[in-house]
């Protein structure tokens, strides 16, 4: 594919070749984003920025639109009939809702981890290799094996599975399955990771493991994480955004948010008065 023949929105540079600028550069910019499931509007005028290599936590009561917002960022909502977005979502300066956007390229660049781990019922290696295969990212077997290994290492799973790569993924424990899903997402070298309550179905020790992993991944990836666990948001995120009824109430550094929120609703929520 010749990049110069594509409209600007299609023009994603692979992460390895991208010029890494100093941390803090905004990589996601959302302006005036409305979102609808058919006639029902669930997001109202969202304004948000995500900076490079930070962890942004999205918190808020159930049903306030956190998952919906997250799924707007890689256009996963496209798969829901009748759903549509209005407004501006820019990733690396390209409006991802512009016509003719390469959604496949977008999803390669913006990986996603789901609340319920969803490994394919294939082998461990095949799971990690899936993204490589469909995107044609490994030229030969040794390259593929190398990328499988490095992804599993990055997800902190390699030592546990290196002797049974051909065993079914579903034979792993819940936490291992979730880390496998992370490895699978990392294998195609995204720049951004979206995590929707990645640890909510896991026990506390496994949750800690996922949190540590998120902190490690932050050195290379920009992470947006939805969580219901305020301690988790406090432990791992740099900044936090509070959602309420489809609106962003405020976005601030996590520390300030949890010690000195500027809005009454935020304070009520984090002190447990509702939600």
């Amino acid at each position: 594919m010749n990049p110069t023949s594509l409209p600007p929105a299609l023009h994603f540079t692979p992460p390895a070749a991208a010029n890494r600028v100093e941390p803090g550069r905004p990589v996601i910019g959302v302006r005036g984003l409305d979102f609808f499931y058919g006639p029902a509007q669930v997001l109202f005028g969202i304004e948000l920025q995500v900076r490079e290599r930070e962890i942004l936590a999205l918190i808020g009561p159930s049903g306030c639109g956190k998952s919906t917002f997250l799924r707007c960022l890689n256009r996963m909502n496209d798969t829901i009939p009748g759903a549509h977005a209005r407004g501006l979502v820019e990733i690396d300066g390209h409006n991802i809702y512009a016509p003719h956007t390469n959604v496949i390229g977008l999803r390669r660049k913006v990986g996603m981890i789901f609340q319920r781990s969803n490994p394919f019922p294939f082998s461990i290696a095949e799971n990690v290799a899936y993204g490589l295969k469909i995107n044609g990212l490994a030229k030969n077997r040794s390259e593929r094996m190398a990328r499988i290994e490095s992804s599993l290492r990055a997800a902190g799973l390699w030592d546990e599975v290196k002797d049974r790569l051909n065993k079914p993924a579903l034979s792993l424990s819940g936490g291992q399955q979730q880390r496998l899903c992370i490895a699978r997402a990392l294998a195609i070298e995204p720049e951004i990771l979206l995590m929707d309550e990645p640890a909510s179905a896991l026990d506390p020790i496994t949750t800690t493991r996922i949190e540590e992993l998120a902190l490690e991944l932050k050195t290379r990836y920009t992470i947006v994480i939805v969580t219901h666990n305020l301690q988790q948001a406090a432990r791992i995120s740099d900044r936090t955004s509070f959602f309420l009824m489809g609106r962003v109430v405020e976005t601030d550094s996590t520390q300030r948010m949890f010690t000195n929120p500027s809005r009454k609703e935020t304070e009520d929520y984090i002190t447990g008065r509702f939600g």
Binding site: I104, F120, I134, K167
Partner: protein, 301 residues
Amino acid sequence: MASLNPALSTLPLAAPRRRAWRRRIFDACGWGLCGLAFLCLGAATVWILATVVLHGLGALNWKMITQGTVGTGGGLMNAIEGTLILALGGIALALPPGLAAGIYLAEFDTGWLAPVIRFFSDVLVGVPSIVIGYFGYVTLVEDLGWGFSAAAGGIALAIIALPYITRGSEMAIRQVPREMRDAAYALGASDSRVVMSITVPLALPGVLTGVLLALAIAVGETAPLLYTAGWSNFLWNGHLIQEPVGYLTYAIWAFITEPFASAHALAYAAALLVTGFVLVISIFARLALDENTGWRRRMRG
């Protein structure tokens, strides 16, 4: 009449005491009806199978499966071969369009075409099989001039099998969890990629069950073949048209009413063979779908 349902009547609902005797009577009636139903069903099944097996075993021998039919005697090798060729050929013809239609119905339900396909599929299930035989006779045997032939018989069976394969595939594909598709989409898979690499492979056990069901039906069909495949005493010579083919259900239909013991033996043996084929196919279908055997287990580890 909820209390007729034994499962419901065991719910620990606090009913008024004076109603208790009524409930007990309803209970007894419920169980009684269940028992009766079971007896009828069980008796009918056992009776049929006993008849088929007892007669069949008396008639079945080595000669029966290694020789062709001679007049109203001889063996059934020609019919066994023909049944396999016609049924497998029919399924092979029906599988590609049936699977494609199933994928379409399950994945692209939004268009106007889906209800139309579903309607035609339902109509096709309802068309009496003899009508399909007659249709095959008029169009293939006569108008196209194929004569009684494997091609005409195979196509007739394919028409019978098509709606079962379509619906079976649709159901199986619908049962693939949304999470699996989401995972693939999130990794940058296109619609067609998701279908080919995730949805269809994960639906395969269910698709296979539909295919086996259709195969069982095809093996047991008679009417559509009478007008399309004809009958032959000889092994198939490989010609797709202008060459009639024998099959087991014909042997039952034609020979049971003949006044000769040798003809009866052919019919009995054919009945046992057809029933045996269908049972074996059903067992395979069960295994394919069963959580604890087959593909699902391999994938789950």
